[in-house]
């Protein structure tokens, strides 16, 4: 059985949910061995991260290097190439860092790469069977990969329940000396925090959220009119921002805002995981989509198969009637 490691990212010494999620994945793949983690960084932050990991990992490999103070994937990759034992399986969270790190790492350590995994079927000899999604979650695929020379596997955040299994013993091993000089051909300069925007969608109880199904910018007004009668705010999916129909500050999702409304009206949104990742607190979700097979209907509470361009004006008129406001 190949050795399984989880690479854990930390910010200022704090590890996020992925630490416990990846531990659960490692246990699922190999129930007999306590999972091992690799963590890189510098100074007190690194020590804090190592300590935090001891509660779920049996072995924590630490790489201390000033150049790794910020997790620059180009440098982390070089460090991992130096310390990963041959043929090991490395688990990484499939977020903006994992997307940056992992495909290139798999080439450098000559192993397979599997991206955005959300299920594990198990081993068959040297093959590992995994589950992925394609076409924005419209279909899932079983994937078989040959792990005889190791694997780098990016795991979808939130797909596996974190397990709090505390290993009977745990230890931090310092691997810093195995890492030589790190060559930075890409240098981190700064982080620019997103602008606030005119409306704070994170503060609203009711969101009328629109997607590419609205077809064109001129139709955004249909959502704005509804939101006005409902006392709601208009939020949106990414393509709406990409097409410049709305500002970035309105975008819900992994690369946008995280919202916690009570009611979420998903209008012409397919339900890709990067969108759903921004909806927290289990709101009551109503989805309107013309495609009865849209993935959004798997997660919504109530679904309506209809054309949003027709349904939204109907809703607005009805709402005005109910509030006793004269229809325009």
């Amino acid at each position: 059985m190949a050795r399984i490691f989880s690479y854990i990212v930390h910010r200022g010494g704090v590890v996020d949910d992925s630490a416990a999620e990846l531990a659960a994945v490692a246990r699922r793949m190999d129930p007999t061995t306590p999972p091992s983690a690799i963590v890189t960084g510098w100074g007190v932050d690194l020590d804090a991260a190592c300590n935090a990991l001891l509660s779920s990992y049996g072995e924590v490999w630490k790489v201390s290097n000033e150049a790794l103070s910020y997790p620059n994937a180009e440098l982390v990759r070089q460090a991992l190439v130096s310390i990963l034992p041959p043929n090991s399986i490395l688990l990484v969270s499939h977020d903006h860092f994992g997307i940056d790190l992992s495909p290139g790492l798999s080439i450098k350590v000559n192993s397979v790469f599997v991206s955005d995994v959300l299920g594990i079927d198990g081993f068959e000899g040297d093959s590992l069977r995994l589950v992925r999604q394609e076409f924005g979650g419209q279909v899932s695929a079983h994937v078989r990969c040959d792990v005889s020379s190791g694997a780098v596997i990016n795991v979808r955040p939130g797909a596996f329940k974190p397990e709090q299994v505390t290993p009977t013993s745990s230890v931090v091993l310092d691997k810093s000396s195995a890492v030589g000089a790190l060559k930075a051909r890409r240098r981190y300069l700064e982080t620019i925090v997103a602008e606030a925007g005119d409306v704070d969608i994170t503060k609203h109880n009711v969101l009328v959220s629109i997607g590419r199904g609205l077809q064109e910018k001129d139709n955004v007004v249909l959502a704005e009119e509804l939101a006005e009668v409902l006392g709601a705010a208009v939020s949106c999916s990414r393509p709406v921002v990409d097409a410049k129909w709305m500002e970035k500050s309105r975008q819900v999702g992994s690369s946008g805002k995280t919202v916690k409304p009570k009611v979420y009206l998903a209008c012409g949104i397919s339900g890709a995981f990067q969108h759903l990742a921004g909806i927290k607190g289990n709101p009551f979700m109503i989805a309107i989509n013309k495609n009865p097979k849209a993935p959004i209907f798997q997660v919504a509470d109530v679904g309506i198969v209809d054309d949003v361009l027709e349904f939204l004006p109907e809703l607005t008129n009805k709402a005005r009637e109910m509030r006793g406001v004269a229809a325009k």
């Binding site: 620059n72 180009e74 977020d95 903006h96 997307i99 940056d100 495909p103 290139g104 790492l105 798999s106 080439i107 397979v112 790469f113 599997v114 991206s115 992925r132 076409f135 924005g136 419209q138 279909v139 899932s140 695929a141 079983h142 078989r144 990969c145 051909r185 890409r186 982080t191 620019i192 997103a194 109880n205 009711v206 409902l230 006392g231 709601a232 393509p239 990409d242 500050s249 992994s254 690369s255 946008g256 805002k257 995280t258 009611v263 009551f284 109503i286 097979k293 993935p295 209907f297 798997q298 109530v302 679904g303 309506i304 209809d306 349904f311 109907e314 809703l315 009805k318 109910m322 509030r323």
Partner: protein, 262 residues
């Protein structure tokens, strides 16, 4: 600056209801609407804008078959200088690593200062760009949403969580994967495509590129799809089957009961 953009033709997720075929071993590919992968369209536009600012040439390349020429033609209409199709029976069934290997051998035939890919293909895994960079031993940055050309290097912004941006300086030559929304891709009409109808698109195969045959194609693919399925409707929404008016009424009652519509 010599710029290479890797593009791929994909079934368009927003235009299609993707379904399983009768055997359940593939998606139903008849009658699918294909187009250039969304992120790749932004990558081509970005390359054109950089070329127009600093000079040079833009080449687009795809690994595929005859049908994929249509996206190359579209990119010619957008204004790229050259389009190349990489096609060979030995390439079929390649996994991401195989595709990256073919692209690497093509990139080695000339010298590119900058290579762009999309972040991810709709049926892909956000992997080809990062793999290509590692094979070429070039620095790489993913999820790029702005590029400024400086002397011998670029300043790039990467999209990270919460709409925040990570600014990096990266040496040339390098590979970048481009995120949607980085620019406003220009419109391509039928007329533009007709104008480039006779521009030749060279096709190169394994022997032209010097691709080692056992490094690509189905036999070399260590990651394989072994079947599709439609995800189980774990809980699933309660579907409303009333008239539009009735449904609207029900929705408003549900919203009102939860504090909206006061």
């Amino acid at each position: 600056m010599e710029i290479l953009v890797c593009v791929r033709r994909v079934p368009d997720t927003s235009e299609n209801e993707i379904e399983l075929n009768a055997a359940g071993n593939d998606i139903e590919r008849e009658e699918l609407v294909y187009s250039v992968n969304e992120a790749d369209n932004y990558a081509v536009e970005e390359a054109l804008q950089i070329r127009d600012r600093v000079g040079g040439n833009v080449t687009v390349v795809t690994v595929g078959g005859e049908d994929d020429e249509e996206v190359l033609r579209r990119e010619l209409a957008m204004g790229v200088n050259q389009a190349v199709l990489l096609s060979d029976e030995d390439f079929s069934g390649s996994d991401g690593r195989g595709i990256a290997t073919i692209l690497k051998d093509f990139a080695h035939k000339s010298r590119y200062d900058l290579i762009l890919t999309g972040v991810q293909a709709d049926d892909g895994a956000a992997q080809v760009g990062g793999m290509l960079a590692a094979m070429l031993d070039y620095p790489f940055a993913s999820l790029v949403n702005s590029i400024t050309v400086e002397d011998g290097r670029l300043k790039v912004s990467r999209e990270i969580e919460g709409g925040n941006r990570e600014i990096n300086e990266i040496d040339l030559p390098c590979v970048l994967s481009i995120q949607t929304g980085i620019n406003e891709p220009r419109y391509v009409g039928m007329r533009g495509i007709r104008q480039v109808a006779s521009v030749p698109i060279p096709t190169l195969g394994a022997s032209d590129l010097g691709v080692e045959k056992d490094s690509v194609g189905e036999a070399a693919a260590k990651v394989r799809r072994v079947g599709y399925f439609v995800p189980a409707l774990s809980k699933g929404a309660e579907m409303l089957h009333g008239s539009r008016e009735e449904n609207a009424h029900t929705v408003l009652e549900l919203v009102a009961a939860r504090g909206g519509l006061k």
